[in-house]
Each structure stands twice: as C-alpha cells, then as structure tokens.
Point group: C2
Chain length 319, copies 2
C-alpha cells in the first residue's frame, strides 16, 4: 500500500466520511454518489488555498483544516443552501503524519459544525495546495443569487466587518497585540463561522446575497453589477468590533471593514418589510445602506455626503 | 478588474459554459446550481494534476487541456454516469494569455466531446496545478461500483491495454519512435477517450467496474478487494496494440499492459449471459479472465499455469 493510499484511508476513517443523509456512496469508488431530494437543486462551489499565497507556510495545520473548509462552506451560506458534503483535493510536498492528523482534526471539527461530510477527493505530491469543493441542496428556484436586488431594498450584512483583514498582520507576525484584541481577531481569521443558518432563513426573503471574501466594497460591486442597480453604503453604519477599533484605530478599522477581505459574513439585499420579523427572531442583521436605481457602489458619510472617491481604487471596486 | 478575474471571464466565455440541460446556474455566482432529475443520483469525482508530477512542465497546454478533463471524465464512465458538468480549479505561476487560450481550447474540445459543461471553479496564483471535479447523473441504484463482482462472472476490458504507459518514454523524450508507433501512443496519452457510452450501456449488466488508471493488476486488485472475490487474468488474452508491441517488444508490451497506468479503459465484471448481445452490438469488449471464489488477483499463462509471483511487487497490487 502506497503512502498516499494510507492518507486516503486516514481521511476515509474520519467520522464525517461515514455517509448519512444525502450521501448514497462515499469515499472509495470511482465516484461518490449524492441523493438530491425531489424539488431541490444541488449547489456547488470550489475554493483553492495555496501555501504562501492564501496562508502562511508553515502554519498550524489544525487551524488550516478549519479555515480551508469554512471559506468554502461560506459560499453555500451565501446561496442559502443546506450543507451536504465536500471533496478535498490535497497536494502535499511530503507525507507528514503529524501534520495530516492535525489537519484532518481541524477539517473534521469544521465539517461536523457545518453538517458537511467528506465524500472523496484526491491526494497528490507537489507544492502544498488545497482545493475543496462543497455541495449543498436548495429548493428549486430559492437559491440566493447576486442578481435580484431591487431599488428600495435595504442593504444588510450578517455581522461585524473587517475582522479578517484586521487579523492578517497578527497572522503574519507583522504586528502584535494583547489577548483581548488578538484572540477574537485570530479566532475570526482561523475559524470563520460560515453563516449557514442565516443563509437558509433568508431564502424567499433576501433578493440578492453573497459572502464577503474580497471586501465589502468589492463584493457589493458584484451585487450591483449582477442586479444592474446601485448600492449606497452609509459609512457610519458599518458594524465594527471593539477589538478591531482598538487595534487599528477608527480610520484603519473603517478601511478594513470597507476593503479588507476574509470576512465570510453575508451581505444581502432585503425588502424592508422582511426586516422586523428577522430582527425579532434574533438574527444578527445590520442595515448598512440601500439599493437605488443606477450602477456601482457609493459611500455616504454621516451627513449623507458622497465620499466615494476617497475610497476608490481597490481591486474589483466599481466593476 | 484583476488579471485573475480576466481569466475567469475568459473561461466563462467558453461555449461549454453557456448552461444547458441540467445546469440551472453556471459560472459567476457563489455557487453553481445543478438540476438532478427525479429518480437519479449525482456522481462526483475529483482529480488533481501537478506540474512535474503528473505531466511534464512545460508541456503543450492544448494537449494538457484535453488530457486533464479526459482523466477526470473517465471516472464518470467507470460509474456508468451520464456526463453533466465540471469545475476547474486552476493554479498558475503567471498569467500567460497564450498558454490560457491554448489550455482552454483543449479543455473545451474535450468538454464538447464528453458532453460536459464548465460551471465554475477557482483561479489562483501558485505552482502550476489543476484540480477538476466532474459531475454526472445515474439512475438510482444503477451506478457501476467496484463491489458487485460475483464468482462466475467474466472479467473484461473495454480496449487495448498499456498504450498510456508505452507513450510515457515518448512524452518524456527518453525514447523516440517513427510516426506509425509514436502517433497512436501519444494520441492515447494526450487525448484519452473516456468510455462514457460503454459505461452507460453496462448499467444493469456489469456487476463491477472501474477505469484503469493505476494499471490493470492494481485496479483489478481494487475490484477483488471491494467485491471480496478473486480475479484470474489470462495472460495471452490481454489486448495489446500493434504499435505498443513493435515499440516495446512482447515482454515490454505485456508489462505495460499489466502494470502500466494511464490506460483510462474500463475494466469490468460481466455475467456471461450478457456478453453475446453486447458483442453483437459492436461494443469493444475483450474478455481477459474470470471471477472466482477467493481473494486477490492471479495471472495465468497460456497453459493455465499460475505465473502470478513473477509479476508481483507493483504498488497497490494484491491489496
């Protein structure tokens, strides 16, 4: 038995790979088989993380295991999909049992938290690189796309912004901070919590949605373009954590919230009539702006003045 | 717009990405959406190809485009699945428009030949690496797994063996050959033809199946283990191409057929009663042995003598 086959067996033995609802056949054959209930569609998303590009190398493999699945699962949340399963394509320079054990432990913890089962993949030798493909199910026609925002809708986000970008200098050891700042930021970076439940509750309510991975402005640009509308963001309504504000100051925190990536928080447009019930039910929804006729994304200050030009120039913005 | 977004747009413009039967939503949102007809299951397989490991670097990107999808689609053939769609996770060291144009052209040609549509993926910077995930559909309970072989069944393959392994020294420029030898071998290597139609016709007939990627002996070992049976292969019945025989001689060709990888030909077990009709219908089926009580894989010479020990020792064999 080759060492890469040993690895496959190692992952196959993980609790999350034992099949279950929706998984008709898991690891070990030429294909896995999924059951998709009548009246539902299968949602699919693929994310690649490259060592030295998307994460520091070396890094803690347990944390990497959590993060690699979380960022992929966040796309299911953005679609309003119910999590089902995932595949893992793992390219490794060497076979290091300790590394693998820790990586699989982090992966499995996130998989259990998200309700995702490992159903297959590939294991190859080469520069460290991870490609995860996640699968979810969603009732026909109820997926949350980016293209349905309507003028008059509210623009909302599902949680604090900028924490992922704020954590980056800590991850890269470029800056340091006390535990009251570092711990929540690093937790957000290494173990983002895909907003799967929020995504599902927004089905049939939100008119457009995505998860913020490239930064709020860039990603709102995607909704604006796909929906052929304009989005106005009110600068003073951005939810910013105390830790981020203490760490980067007001201006730095605001910049992280507007253009930092790695938030993995949902951004969505919502008819105002839907808001009261969602808030009453305790969903973490922050209104940060509104949908208007037009194109692109604008930023307003506390007096309603357009301050967009000062924050232009980020990649993706305004597409 | 970033250069990697340009690439995404480039692939999104490919003919194979325009949606169609089964694809409810293609490239451009957080997830793609697939429709799976009532009464059918979704078959999923993932393959990674790493530069310098699974293909020479540099190599012709057009040929790589064809090959990268073909080897993944072959797993759908092995399952008896009807091809539906695929995702591409492309990690590139630099953005080279000529390379991308040629790669996409080869990929699209194979996609059209296979009936597969590109529905999403990811594009990242890093050492050249490709992960393709393919999707097919198969009627509930009719997928061809590895685990149903029964003593008494015939052991069959869907075409000539060893051509992929025979081509390897030509691909790596370790050996040369005249065009009558080199062309068919290289064509098999760079543009393997996944046996998708054969896989589908074997539904409800074959008791076990896979595609030969690790070599005949190793892969028959997988069927034997999953089905808890023994497989006996008759050495003189291996279908070997004239080109391979002329290139490597009798012994070399036989070794390539038994233990060379990269065949992407189906191997399957079949109740004898099914054979005449399939042959009469013109399917390329070669009987190379039979299923017996027991465990593992044995090789018999023309006189029925067990010559297994002489070919032991290949990775995977005998698991």
């Amino acid at each position: 038995m080759g060492e890469f086959e040993l690895i496959r067996n190692f992952f196959a033995a993980a609790p999350c790979a034992q099949g279950g609802e929706g998984v008709a056949l898991g690891i070990g054959d030429d294909c896995a088989l999924l059951d998709v209930p009548f009246g539902e569609q299968l949602a699919i998303s693929t994310d690649t993380l490259v060592a030295g590009v998307h994460f520091a190398d070396p890094c803690d493999p347990f944390l990497l295991g959590q993060r690699s699945l979380a960022v992929a699962a966040s796309d299911l949340a953005a679609m309003g999909a119910t999590p089902l399963a995932f595949t893992l394509a793992l390219t490794l320079p060497t076979v290091d049992a300790d590394w693998l054990e820790a990586y699989a432990r982090g992966l499995n913890l996130m998989a259990q938290g998200c309700g995702l089962r490992l159903i297959g993949g590939d294991t190859t030798r080469g520069p460290l690189c991870l490609t995860l493909t996640v699968f979810g199910r969603v009732p026909n026609g109820q997926a949350l796309t980016r293209s349905g925002a309507q003028p008059g809708d509210l623009l909302c986000v599902g949680g604090e912004l900028g924490n992922g970008a704020g954590a980056l200098p800590l991850v890269l050891n470029q800056l340091s901070a006390g535990p009251s700042i570092a711990e929540p930021l690093l937790a957000h970076y290494w173990s983002p919590q895909p907003q799967l439940a929020l995504g599902q509750v927004l089905r049939g309510k939100a008119t457009a949605a995505l998860d913020i991975s490239d930064g709020l402005l860039a990603d709102c640009g995607h909704i604006a373009a796909a929906s052929r509308v304009g989005l106005l963001i009110e600068n003073d309504r951005l939810p910013i954590s105390l830790a981020l504000q203490e760490f980067l100051g007001d201006a730095g925190a605001q910049q992280a919230a507007l253009s930092g990536g790695d938030d993995y928080v949902l951004a969505f447009t919502l008819p105002a009539v839907e808001l009261p019930t969602l808030l009453a039910d305790g969903w973490p929804i922050h209104v940060i702006g509104r949908v208007v006729e037009g194109r692109g994304v604008g930023l307003l200050d506390v007096d309603g003045q357009d301050i967009t030009p000062t924050i232009r120039g980020y990649q993706h913005f305004g597409i």
